[in-house]
């Protein structure tokens, strides 16, 4: 046997234990039957429902205001379909000026950067603290473990509106803390970051501790024998193995924090420290007055981009994370 073939063919050892189970999965496409047709039909319909508003918003963002407003007013009977067509009618020319107006005149740029700073800070902290807490709760036994865990789980069902008023006063009073107070009070990035982290931790801990529990104990023991301390064990062995879960919950938190509206509305009243969701809301009001619909949609499209990018980048891991632990 040459070296080349030896590389390809497995040695005399038995194949991986999973291989025989994996074999019967049908590789060919299943034949068309009515149920499948119904399934696919429903999926297509679902896809249209989901994609249409997005597509519509993005295309509108490139139109001129005149184009947007010169829609035929025919929303009854067959003319509804004409109207619908006009809505998805591609813009005649790409008006990038809409984006410039939204970014500068409507301060979307400032809000965007505020959002990025706050969300990147809170996301990193949420993931770090959440996974550390979840790991400790999932893998170490200590008195009070269950109480802390259920405390976190209880936090999931706490509606944010219930906490809104006390939260405002707490964050406002943070300014009384000497030195650091000014960085974590109202209208500060730090204050909003901390609130986001606190708000996101319960579900993150709940999700990640379930994930850590599925990882085999022997791996931690092997690492301990190999010489890992608790920190190295967590960061170099356990955390990399929890990657699918981290990506799923990371995207979940990213979307949640990026789209958060009520909390910043209360905690960031200053125009300069508004985040994107607030910015869009005020944009909708002011553009409604000015009739600059194109800029509004351009702003919406801008707000959409980071989420879209995150989804596209991590799509595979999100799926892996959601189905992890189902099959072993």
């Amino acid at each position: 046997m040459t070296a080349a073939t030896e590389h390809v063919t497995p040695p005399a050892d038995a194949p991986a234990p999973a291989a025989p189970d994996a074999a019967p999965v049908p590789a060919r496409r299943e034949r068309l039957n009515p149920l499948n047709l119904l399934n696919s039909g429903f999926l297509v319909l679902w896809g249209i429902f989901t994609a249409f508003p997005l597509l519509w918003a993005v295309m509108t963002a490139f139109k001129t205001n005149r184009e947007i407003l010169s829609l035929p007013d025919c929303r009854a009977g067959w003319r509804f379909w004409v109207w619908l067509w006009c809505m998805v009618d591609p813009p005649t020319s790409l008006e990038f000026d809409n984006f410039t107006r939204a970014w500068t005149q409507a301060s979307i740029g400032v809000y965007f950067i505020n959002s990025i700073i706050v969300v990147s800070g809170s996301l990193v902290l949420t993931m770090l603290l959440g996974s550390m807490a979840a790991y400790a709760l999932a893998r170490y036994e200590f008195p009070g473990n269950r109480i802390i865990y259920f405390g976190f789980v209880g936090g999931i069902m706490f509606p944010v509106f219930l906490a809104l008023v006390p939260l405002f006063f707490v964050v406002d009073n943070m300014k009384l803390i000497p030195v650091v107070g000014q960085y974590i009070t109202l209208n500060s990035y730090g204050g909003l970051i901390l609130v986001y982290v606190a708000y996101s931790l319960p579900f993150t801990v709940f999700f990640m501790s379930a994930f850590f529990r599925t990882l085999p104990t022997e791996l931690a023991e092997a690492a301990a024998i190999d010489g890992c301390g608790h920190f190295r064990l967590f960061f170099q062995v356990m955390l990399p193995m929890a990657k699918p879960g981290l990506v799923s919950i990371g995207i979940f938190n990213f979307i949640g924090q990026w789209n958060q509206y009520v909390i910043p509305l209360v905690l960031m009243p200053d125009p300069d420290s508004k985040v994107l969701a607030q910015g869009l809301a005020s944009l909708a009001v002011s553009m409604g007055y000015r009739g600059d619909w194109a800029a509004l949609f351009a702003g919406l499209t801008l707000a959409l981009l980071p989420l879209l990018a995150a989804y596209l980048l991590f799509q595979r891991q999100v799926q892996a994370g959601l189905s992890a632990g189902l099959l072993k």
Binding site: E6, H7, P10, P11, D13, A14, P15, A16, P17, P216, E218, L219, E221, A222, A223, A224, I225, D226, G227, C228, G229, R232, V237, P240, M241, K243
Partner: protein
């Protein structure tokens, strides 16, 4: 390389009354291959994990060489362990898996690469160093786990049923490979298994445990020839020894119509203690029997099943034995084995029988 000493080491899991390992006294020599064997729940894995530092020792002590390691963390004990499910790090390549401990220890990169390459060569893993564990077969994963232990050059290897996840043929093959590897490296090894064939074929010495108590620790030959009690006699050897409780007379035990002469000392020992009631346990291995003709003093056994193994055949049957039904296993020549439903006459070879106390099961010599 070092010796390993358990000194009345005990461990009781929280929430249980009975110790999982009960004052274990065991001395393992430098370079020795010691196998811990016993049925599930006997404390063999727990003993190993105590040595590894994965379980706390409640009382007693454990020493590796001259160092008392009883309360040291696993990483300070200079040991390497191979787990049943191998516990390979899934996100690291084979080479990274094998070099991880060295990397933590701060060994220079060139040294790590060299030692990993050496171990890979030894285990025939050179072509797979860049792969992730999930792209390996079961046997290869097992070898990576071995490699991870070898690379460390530890004082003691600990192996917790490392062959259980392999198929039967590969297990036999790997069994001899591990034994040969251990001989070559000369590292003290403690090996846990529930498979008494593995224990007998691999170990220099075998320690048999039951309910957290060490029953006997001796060479495989000695365990087979001179089991210390009824449990060891029944556990070691396949098929198991025929062990029967028979009435005791002045001259010996009466085994059906066969009379087993016992020495005066044996009879005296058998009568000691309460509850013996003038009976004694005798045992003989399936191969220590003769099938004799009718009327020559054999126990009549009705054949229930015959296992033909080619060279030999095992005859499973039962006999009406002083009013109760007793089962027997007998090894015979494979070429003229009896048939099912036939009655054969079994006569134990006198002098090859084992005698145990009727109540406490201790061996009587």
């Amino acid at each position: 390389m070092a010796t390993v000493t358990y000194e009345t080491a005990s461990l009781t899991y929280p929430g249980t009354a009975k110790p999982a390992v009960d004052s274990l006294d065991l001395e393992i020599g430098d370079g020795e291959f010691l196998v811990l064997v016993g049925p599930s729940g006997c404390g063999k894995s727990t003993s190993l994990r105590m040595l590894a530092g994965l379980e706390d020792v409640d009382s007693g002590s454990i020493r590796i060489g001259d160092r008392d390691v009883t309360h040291l963390p696993p990483k300070a004990r200079d040991i390497a362990m191979v787990f049943q499910n191998y516990a390979l790090y899934p996100h690291m390549s084979v080479a990274q898996n094998m070099g991880f401990a060295l990397k933590i220890a701060g060994t220079p990169k060139t040294e790590i690469t060299k030692r990993v390459a050496d171990a890979a060569k030894l285990l025939d893993l050179e072509d797979y160093l860049a792969r992730k564990p999930k792209a390996l077969s079961g046997g290869q994963r097992q070898r990576v786990a071995m490699g991870r232990a070898i690379v460390r050059e530890p004082q003691v290897f600990l192996m917790d049923e490392p062959l259980s996840n392999l198929d039967a043929k590969l297990r036999v093959q790997t069994r001899s490979q591990i034994a040969a590897l251990q001989k070559r490296l000369g590292t003290t090894t403690v090996y846990v298994t529930h498979d008494q064939v593995e224990a007998m074929t691999m170990g220099h010495r075998v320690a048999v445990l039951l309910d957290g108590l060490l029953q006997q620790c001796d060479t495989p030959r000695a365990l087979y020839d001179r089991p210390a009690n009824v449990f060891v006699a029944g556990f070691i050897g396949s098929p198991a020894m025929n062990i029967k409780t028979v009435p005791l007379s002045e001259e010996g035990g009466r085994f059906g119509k066969v009379f087993l002469p016992l020495t005066r000392e044996q009879i005296a020992a058998a009568r000691e203690g309460d509850g013996a009631n003038g009976s004694v346990q005798v045992g003989f291995r399936p191969e220590d029997t003769d099938l004799v003709g009718e009327g020559t003093g054999g126990v009549p056994v009705l054949v229930d099943l015959v296992e033909e193994l080619g060279s030999d055949a095992y005859v499973y049957g039962h006999a009406d034995f002083d009013g109760s039904e007793e089962r027997f296993v007998v090894r015979t020549d494979g070429r003229n084995a009896p048939e099912m439903g036939q009655t054969v006459y079994v006569k134990p070879k006198v002098g090859h029988h084992h005698v145990f106390h009727a109540v406490n099961g201790e061996r009587i010599d």
